[in-house]
């Protein structure tokens, strides 16, 4: 079992998990209206650190984002329960935009190496002296839960014993303008699941959970029981009308309704998200479990959200309480679910954390307090043993997966399964040439940015060469990609659109691609893959780290094959994709 050793939240309403929980329980929030902040033309509601709070966590030589993450990690590991310097301890950073505010500085814009998420992760890791290489989880709004799921699996697959999982994001004109272009921001306090909800609020925070292999079954120890990531295979920014991915992620957990104190939903208070979640929860049959959301206290803290909301939920269960959905008054969703705007008591010892995000990704996590002897025995007695594949791992030194079919796409050409493909163009034009020659019937291709085109066309060629019947829906294939430069091209495009107050035209069609995981969503949509989609950023290409993550990904027992690889775009003419299909080694 994977245990929670310690945790911390730093937010505008507190510097420790307990301060945060007490504030939330009392109904407090730092959400307020900002007029003219950062010279943005439109006002917005957000939960931001005050200047004084910011000064308190800033560290010399580190950026605002890095300082915030460091401050939270420092508090989470203060009790020395985990050996940071051990080769068995890894840092996992969850962020959607990391140091993106640096791009506003022309020095970084022109030489963005120092802005990249992998560099930020390295800087944080070095501050503490981690000896292992950090991984950045960049899966849009589900990053926090996806990071916890990754950490759990890396420990489960025996590759590490401890993981420090930190989620953080700071708000910037870059992000606020992007969400404004989407018309996704509420003009006042957000109202999750309410009939009058009209959008989300953004928030700043960092949250850290330290996970460890279960060493001692202490009472009241929290455990990550199960976690799953699933895709809607529907649309890159619009949630599925059937709640497909969230529904499937919920089902993958195997949690009994009677075990649950509550389901802590994503509940961003956008029209479509909350409706989608209500349908997914309804479909999963959790009609009698209270569904709550914490965005009314914190706004959407992006990369921190999954971890922050998991911590608040653990504190609530420890306090035998279900926290009210701040901002909720009248049910405004069609799913048959149970909502509340007052704090309620509970005697249950576990909860589900649910998230969904752009790219059609959804994540669910089942977190439980160390069960009493009886609970454990009862759960075991009711366990279903479906197949003997459960524990059967391979012999030592044999890879847990087999690689089949490989493609490498560079600006100069394509190698597919060891053979050079005949092409004439180079650079960006090569991608269009490939599309016309081999696909041709998927005009969405032209809406994609360069990196997405690269990943899309590489996956098309790869899957064609697999020679299997395509496009029939499936949940056993995951799409898991890695890179170094995140969504740098789209980031720069969006930055250029907001640099000049007189030419301020942020565009939703550009902004959506500032999330690198969109590419995994595009592949899932094209192929009707309801399985896991994940995107990770590394400091540099690292074959062994990638293989660790892929091996861990097979800990999701539904996953039998993965479309995986490296898809990196430095500029429109400097890119590199190496993709392959890996199958679970039976």
């Amino acid at each position: 079992m994977i245990s929670v050793l310690s945790h911390n939240i730093i937010s505008p309403i507190g510097e420790t998990s307990m301060q945060n929980y007490s504030a939330v329980k009392a109904g407090n929030s730092a959400l307020s209206r900002y007029d003219g902040k950062w010279n943005l033309p439109e006002p917005f509601f957000a939960s931001l650190f005050s200047d004084e709070q910011t000064r308190n966590f800033m560290i010399d030589g580190k950026t605002r984002f890095e300082s915030l993450a460091i401050a939270s990690i420092k508090k989470a590991i203060a009790d020395n329960l985990v050996d940071i310097h051990s080769p068995r301890t890894i840092l996992i950073l969850s962020t959607t935009k990391g140091n993106v505010e640096l791009l506003a500085d022309p020095r970084y814009f022109n030489n963005p190496e120092g802005e990249l998420p992998g560099v930020a992760a390295r800087s944080i890791a070095d501050y503490f002296g981690f000896v292992t290489k950090p991984i950045v989880v960049c899966n849009a709004c589900i990053s926090g839960v996806a990071a916890l799921v990754l950490a759990k699996r890396l420990i489960e697959s025996a590759q590490y014993d401890n993981a420090v999982v930190c989620g953080a994001d700071v708000q910037t004109p870059f992000i606020v303008s992007g969400f404004q272009s989407f018309k996704a921001l509420s003009s006042d306090n957000c109202r999750p699941f309410d009939i009058s909800r009209c959008g989300l609020n953004l928030g700043e925070a960092a949250a850290t959970i330290v996970l460890s292999r279960d060493a001692d079954s202490k009472d009241n120890q929290w455990h990550i029981v199960s976690g799953g990531v699933r895709n809607d295979a529907n649309h890159i920014s619009g949630p599925s009308r059937t709640g497909e991915g969230s529904y499937r992620a919920l089902l993958s957990l195997g949690a009994q309704e009677s075990d649950l104190a509550f389901i802590n939903a994503h509940g961003t208070a956008t029209l479509y998200n909350d409706e989608m979640e209500s349908i997914a929860i309804d479909r999963a049959g959790y009609h009698n479990v209270i569904v709550n959301a914490l965005k009314g206290y914190y706004g959407h803290t992006m990369g921190a959200a999954g971890i922050l909301e998991t911590i608040i939920s653990m504190c609530a269960v420890d306090d035998n309480a279900v926290i009210a959905t701040r901002g909720y008054a009248e049910k405004g969703v069609s799913g048959d679910i149970c909502l509340a705007n007052v704090n309620a008591p509970t005697d249950k010892a576990s909860f589900i954390k649910l998230l969904s995000g752009f790219g059609g990704c959804n994540a669910a996590l089942w977190v439980s307090k160390s069960q009493s002897y009886l609970d454990r025995i009862k759960k075991t007695a009711n366990k279903k043993i479906a197949s003997n594949k459960r524990d059967a791992r391979e012999m030592p030194e044999r890879s847990p997966y087999i690689t089949r079919h490989q493609i490498a796409v560079s600006p100069q050409g394509v190698m597919l399964n060891g053979e050079q493909l005949k092409t004439e163009q180079t650079g960006k034009a090569l991608l269009t040439e490939l599309y016309k020659a081999h696909v041709g019937d998927y005009p969405k291709f032209y809406k994609m940015d360069v990196m997405t085109r690269l990943g899309f066309i590489a996956s098309e060629l790869l899957l064609m060469s697999e020679g299997k019947e395509r496009f029939s829906p499936c949940e056993d294939r995951a799409v898991i990609l890695f890179n170094r430069t995140s969504s740098l091209i789209a980031d720069k495009l969006h930055q250029e659109s907001i640099n000049d107050a007189n030419a301020f035209f942020p565009s939703p069609s550009v902004f959506v691609y500032t999330l690198p995981n969109i590419i995994t969503g595009e592949i899932a949509i094209r192929n009707k893959y309801y399985g896991e989609t994940s995107f990770y950023i590394l400091e540099k290409f690292d074959e062994s780290l990638i293989s660790q993550v892929l091996e861990a990904s097979f800990e999701d027992s539904h996953t039998t094959s993965i479309v995986a690889g490296w898809v990196d775009c430095e500029s429109e003419d400097v890119f590199n994709a190496q993709m392959y299909i890996v199958e679970k080694n039976k």
Partner: protein, 589 residues
């Protein structure tokens, strides 16, 4: 992948030596380790025992342990496992490439520490922290945590056959691909608790024991630990580990006769030995030596002889009981005797059966020891209270063993019965006669009621196997026995209380009630006890060893123990809880 299971390391601590070499020398020189108690603080100064000649303090400093309350069972285990790990060169093995499991057999667990503070704990919380490691599962946990490469661990508690059953589970985990390497065996410290218990059963010899002798008059208790490192032949070759021997076959059967006595015809022993032989692909004539259970009680030696004659006819292999050297090391005996068998194979000698001079009627004739005797296949017997009988065969060479296949498919729960209150226990009268119920404590009643009801619901008269879990076992009887020991200053204790104090007493009670001779074992690993039962049941079903398995997990609590649990910050267990299930493997889709 072949399923050849090999032994690549072993370790031993016993009354006749603190490592393999010194044990070997003692065996050769016929030097028994049995003497009057020098370390165990008991009033029974006249009862000889096989003590490990080292105090807890000496072991603690040797092992670099400074925990005040660490129990002797754990320390002995560490001494032996350290050796086994060094021999198999496991230190530094990567968790990523190898899943290493520890399966340890023990029944005493932390009882030695518990009994030393018991009278103080009746009225004060001063030393209650010692109860954190009272239960058997915790001894194994402490043992496992000493080695950072151990991923999983469990405790088998079938009294005197615990270590043998631990070795069997370990082999099955490897064969089914759930583990790559397993450290298996047993560890047991002497305690006043079981010394008084065996004394109340009047089976302790006041002199050195004389197994298989016509004048034998009981056993001597001993202590120690013996562990072996098991892995598949492939893993061993890949790692470049030295193969010491092959685990050619093993069998587990239940005598289902009586809690403390063996049947006259040795049915359980016979079945266990036959199974081991048939798995190994060997004939009776291939066995060169039997390390007998041979406790030296009139009943065991007679019953074991009968079973051996049934299986081997007139052509009985050389046989001896090395309990005449070590004493009966109860849960550790299967591990200690496995290591003695390894020594015999390696050094080509027959260990002596000390104390024998008079041929018993209808009894085997043991060897008095022989050097320069080439041995290829040796059989090792371990029989426990409740008729938990096991036997395994170690071979110098790979035999044409019968491989085990593990079928796919869903494990079906045919029936499930749960008991959660003492009030429900009165329904036991629907199943059992008053004379059968009279001696049973709440846990035994709850176990039988839930099990018999689950079988009835499943429409099954007798399951093929019984796998039982318990976290604390019969703590009601254990506490009563401890109170009697304090009250009478070890003068008299009730044999019934002792008989129903071991963890496996509940699983074997079901077998006795049903006349079920099939596979029978007991796991105790805190809240994971049922998990391990389910895992073993799954192995039995998938391997075809059993078509139906009765699985259960049963626990009780007492007022005093509830107070202890509160005082040490542990969850207060329910007064009674039982869950019993009948499992089968669903037919292939």
């Amino acid at each position: 992948m072949s399923q050849s299971i090999v032994i690549t390391g072993s370790g031993i601590v016993s009354a006749i030596g603190l490592d393999k070499e010194s044990v070997y020398q003692s065996l050769l020189s016929r030097q028994s380790g049995i003497a009057l108690p020098a370390i165990l603080k008991t009033n029974h100064k006249d009862i000889p025992v096989g003590e490990v000649k080292m105090s807890n303090e000496e072991m603690k400093s040797l092992l670099n342990i400074d925990d005040l309350y660490v129990n002797r069972t754990t320390l002995l285990g560490m001494m032996a496992v350290d050796q086994a790990i060094a021999e198999a060169r496991l230190a530094g093995i990567s968790k990523k490439s190898c899943r290493v499991v520890l399966v340890s057999g023990t029944t005493v667990g932390g009882m030695d520490v518990t009994e030393s503070y018991f009278s103080s704990m009746l009225t004060s919380e001063d030393h209650m922290k010692c109860m954190l490691t009272h239960d058997c599962g915790n001894s194994t946990r402490l043992l496992a945590e000493r080695y950072n490469f151990i991923q999983d661990y469990t405790t088998v508690s079938t009294a005197c056959s615990s270590a043998a059953n631990a070795i069997m589970l370990a082999a099955n985990l490897i064969k089914s691909g759930q583990a790559d390497i397993a450290i298996a065996g047993g560890t047991e410290a002497l305690s006043k608790f079981h010394l008084n218990g065996f004394n109340s059963l009047m089976i302790l010899n006041k002199e050195n024991c004389r197994p298989f002798d016509d004048t034998r008059a009981g056993l001597n208790l001993g202590e120690g630990a013996g562990f072996v490192v098991l892995e598949s032949k492939e893993t061993a070759i890949k790692r470049g580990a030295d193969i010491q021997a092959y685990l050619a076959g093993y069998g587990n059967a239940c005598d289902a006769y009586h809690q403390t006595a063996s049947s006259p015809d040795g049915e359980g022993a016979y079945q266990a030995m036959s199974q081991a032989l048939s798995m190994s692909g060997l004939k009776t004539g291939d066995i060169d030596y039997i390390n007998a259970h041979g406790t030296g009680t009139p009943n065991n030696d007679e019953s074991e002889s009968a079973a051996i004659f049934r299986l081997f006819g007139d052509d009985v292999p050389a046989i001896s009981s090395t309990k005449s050297f070590t004493g009966h090391t109860t849960s550790a005996s299967g591990g200690i005797e496995a290591v003695i068998c390894l020594l015999a194979l390696q050094h080509s000698f027959l260990p002596a059966n000390l104390g024998w001079s008079n041929q018993m009627t209808n009894g085997v004739t043991p060897t008095l020891g022989e050097e320069n005797r080439e041995l290829n296949h040796v059989m090792c017997n371990s029989f426990g209270f409740g008729g938990n009988d096991s036997s395994f065969i170690l071979s110098k060479h790979e035999t044409s063993y019968i491989p085990t296949t593990f079928a796919d498919g869903e494990i079906k729960v045919v029936s499930r019965v749960e008991i959660e209150s003492v009030a429900e226990l009165s329904r036991i009268k629907e199943y059992l006669k008053p004379m059968e119920i009279r001696r049973m404590g709440p846990l035994m009643r709850s176990t039988l009621l839930s099990s018999l009801e689950a079988l009835k619901q499943a429409g099954i008269e007798r399951p093929d196997a019984i796998v039982t879990g318990t976290m604390l076992g019969c703590i009601d009887n254990s506490e009563k026995l401890l109170r009697e020991m304090v009250a009478t200053d070890e003068a008299t204790t009730s044999p019934t209380l002792f008989m129903q104090s071991t963890h496996n007493t509940i699983g074997s009670a079901i077998a006795i009630q049903l006349g079920c001779h099939g596979y029978n074992t007991t796991y105790t690993q805190a809240e994971y006890s049922l998990d391990w039962c389910m895992r073993d049941a799954e192995l039995l079903l998938r391997s075809g060893t059993a078509k139906t398995v009765l699985v259960g997990c049963h626990d009780e609590n007492t007022e005093w123990y509830g107070w202890v649990q509160r005082a040490i910050g542990r969850e207060v267990m329910p007064n009674i809880h039982s869950v019993a299930m009948v499992l089968t493997l669903a037919a292939d889709k």
